[in-house]
Subunit: 248 residues, 2 copies
C-alpha cells in the first residue's frame, strides 16, 4: 500500500474533525450566544490546515445553524431557537414583551398596493382592489429574525397606516377595527432568500430560510389579512394546532 499523502488522518475528513471540535465548544457552553468564533486564519494556523479547509469547517457550522456571519466582522454563535406559535398569531410582539425580550420592529416599507391575481383570490376581492401593504423587519437584541409583509383590504381598515405599525397587527385590527382572527391557512416552506431579503436579514445570498404564508380569517370565514414572512431558518420553530379534515 503506497503512502497516503493527502489524507493522513484516515477516514474522517480534517474539516469534520475541526467542525466537531468547534461544535463541542458551543454545545458545551464554552462559547455562548453571539460569542465570536475563531476566524478562518486562526483556525487554519491552530489546527494546521489551509484556510480553505478551515473555512469548510466554519461553513459547516453555519449550515447546521450553529453559527452565523455578520458581514466581515466574523462568525458568531447563533442565538437560541425561538418558537413561533402560529395558533397564537396575536402574540408575537405581545409575547416578546411579556417574556422581556428586547424586540425591535423596523418599518421597511408601507403604502397602498393593488391586489394582484393571487392576493385577490385569497382575500376574495377584485383584481386591482386597493390594499394596504407594509413590510417590517423584526429583530431581537439587534439580531434580525424575520421579515414580514402584510396585506389588508384598504376599504376595510381605513387609515390603518396612520397607526404605529411597530406593534402586533392582530392586536391593532382587534382594538381599532373590532376584527378578530379565528382561523388561519398556513403554508410553510424552505427556500433561498432573495438579494433584498439577505441584506435585511444580514445573510449572504443563496442561504436557505423558512417562508411562512398566512391567510387569516374571521369567525365568519372571511379572509381579511395576508401575511408573508421569511425567517432565518436556524432561528425559527413553528408550532400549531391543526384540524384534521375527516375523510368521509
Amino acid at each position: 500500500m503506497p503512502d497516503d499523502l493527502t489524507n493522513p488522518t484516515e477516514d474522517p475528513p480534517r474539516f469534520r474533525l475541526i467542525f466537531n471540535a468547534l461544535r463541542g465548544e458551543i454545545t458545551a457552553g464554552n462559547l455562548v450566544e453571539h460569542a465570536a468564533l475563531p476566524s478562518e486564519r486562526y483556525v487554519a494556523e491552530n489546527y494546521d490546515v489551509s484556510r480553505m479547509t478551515a473555512r469548510r469547517a466554519l461553513e459547516a457550522l453555519e449550515a447546521e445553524g450553529l453559527a452565523y456571519r455578520d458581514g466581515r466582522k466574523g462568525r458568531f454563535v447563533s442565538p437560541q431557537r425561538l418558537t413561533y406559535d402560529i395558533s397564537q398569531m396575536v402574540s408575537f410582539a405581545a409575547d416578546a414583551q411579556a417574556r422581556n425580550v428586547d424586540l425591535q420592529i423596523e418599518i421597511i416599507d408601507a403604502g397602498p398596493h393593488d391586489a394582484d391575481a393571487k392576493l385577490a383570490r385569497e382575500l376574495s376581492v377584485q383584481v386591482g382592489e386597493q390594499l394596504h401593504a407594509y413590510t417590517r423587519l423584526f429583530k431581537i437584541a439587534g439580531h434580525a429574525i424575520f421579515i414580514e409583509t402584510e396585506f389588508v383590504i384598504a376599504a376595510q381598515f381605513p387609515d390603518l397606516l396612520r397607526h404605529d405599525l411597530r406593534q402586533s397587527t392582530t392586536q391593532l385590527l382587534s382594538q381599532h377595527y373590532n376584527t378578530r382572527a379565528h382561523t388561519g391557512d398556513v403554508i410553510i416552506r424552505m427556500r433561498g432568500v432573495s438579494a433584498n431579503e439577505a441584506k435585511l436579514l444580514g445573510l449572504s445570498e443563496n442561504t436557505a430560510g423558512i417562508e411562512l404564508e398566512q391567510v387569516i380569517h374571521d369567525a365568519e370565514g372571511t379572509a381579511f389579512c395576508i401575511g408573508r414572512q421569511i425567517w432565518r431558518g436556524e432561528l425559527a420553530e413553528f408550532s400549531a394546532r391543526t384540524l384534521v379534515n375527516s375523510e368521509s
Copy 2:
C-alpha cells in the same frame, strides 16, 4: 485607476454569473426534473474558471434547492416541490396513489420501543410504557423525500407491526382499530440532518432539512400517535388550517 487583475468582470462575482446562467436554463425549462447538470470540470472549462469557482456556482444551485447531488454520479435538477397538507394527515400515501404518483415506502426499522420522558409526556403514559416504533423512508420515483418515525401505544394497537406498514398509518389505525385523527399538534423547524438521515435521504452531511413533529389526538383529545419526519427541505411545502387561540 490601476488594473484589476482578480475581478475583471467587475461587481457581480463570476460564480454568480454562472449560477444565474444555470438557473436560467432550469427555470426556462431547458433542463427538466432530474436532468443532469454540467459537471464541475465541464463548467470550469466552458466558462473559463477554475474548478473551485465552478463548484461554488453549482453549490449555490443546491443551496437554492434547484439542484441536488446523487453521490458521485453528478448533480441533477431538483423535482418539483410537493405540498403536504398536515390537516389531511390520512392522505399522504392515498393522495399519492390518487394522483398517480409513483410512491414507494421502505421499512427501515420496526419494533418495540420503551417510552422515554418526552414520548411518555406527549402520549400521557408512564415512562417505560411499551410502544410500537417504526421508521419508514418515502420515495417518489426512486427519489427520497422524507423519513418518518412513528410511535404508538402498543397496548392500544396490538399486532400493529404485523400489518403491512407500507401504507397510510392513519388509514390503518382507522380501519383496523377504529381510531380516528381529530386534531394534531405540530412543530416545524429547519435543522441539519444527521449522518444516518443524510445517508437515507441521499444528502451530504451538514445539509439542512425540515423536521416535522406531530402529536395526533382523537376526538376526545387523547394523543395516540406521534410522528417525527425529516424532509429534504427543497422538496417540502407544508400547508395547514390552524385554529387561532382567542386571547380573552
